[in-house]
Symmetry: C2
């Protein structure tokens, strides 16, 4: 599996030293078909359970934040007191299932382009994101 070579290069490209830990984390995050969402906790679990590897919690935090800063990951705010990250770094919207606390990506076609009419002087728009909260049909709504 020369797959890791890609990660080493990718890391170097953006100025991150390709350490054992960072490569391991890349594998967990990017050696897969589809992009996905996770919390730091999820990631730590995946590393220890699926890869049978132990990376210090602090390192996982550091690495995830380094990745985020470099554009390898995107942070998503839904739930206060929990940080979700997304390996899909392109601009896109989300559904959030309030029953299961599951995040679901929207396709481009799911939501029309958002037109912002307001302009804040001296400020530029960095992103426009929609969060659609859904819940069970028959349940008392939050």
């Amino acid at each position: 599996m020369p797959k890791n070579c890609n990660f080493i290069e990718k890391l170097r490209e953006v100025g991150l030293r390709p350490t054992k830990q960072r490569i391991k984390i890349c594998e967990v995050l990017y050696n897969r078909e589809k992009t996905f969402h996770f919390t730091i906790n999820d990631l730590v679990k995946m590393i220890s359970e699926k890869m049978n590897e132990k990376i210090s919690l602090a390192t996982v935090y550091n690495t995830v934040h380094a990745f985020e800063k470099k554009g390898y990951l995107k942070e998503i705010s839904i739930d206060s007191h929990k940080s979700y990250f997304d390996t899909n770094t392109s601009a896109h919207h989300h559904f959030f299932d309030e029953d299961t606390h599951e995040l679901i990506d929207c396709d481009e076609s799911d939501i029309d382009k958002i037109n912002i009419r307001k302009n804040i002087t001296g400020k530029k728009i960095n992103s426009v994101e929609v969060l659609v909260r859904v819940a069970s049909d028959n349940q008392t709504q939050k």
Copy 2:
């Protein structure tokens, strides 16, 4: 100032006992021209500094959450690890200034109605909210 009477009644209407503390918090939150955004921390500071009153942190949390459940307040997710609340409980969108960490309300007219084409079976849409992140024009973007 018979203003508090309104709060007492308002609280009663939704089945919350009008306690000294809840009325005090109502005063801080609603005796003002415009709606505004705050964190629990902000609120505690306002109570102790502006009103020279001491309400236990636990009570502030309980009360804010009680208000939220009853529709007096709306929670807004922007920043993980900080809960923002909004005294404007109507459905509306926000700008978030990434430089100052300030939340700014959007008017109805600022953003067109969002059309959601996706449908998740068995789930109903609870809310659709747009967050527009802005930052200084001349600054390296996040």
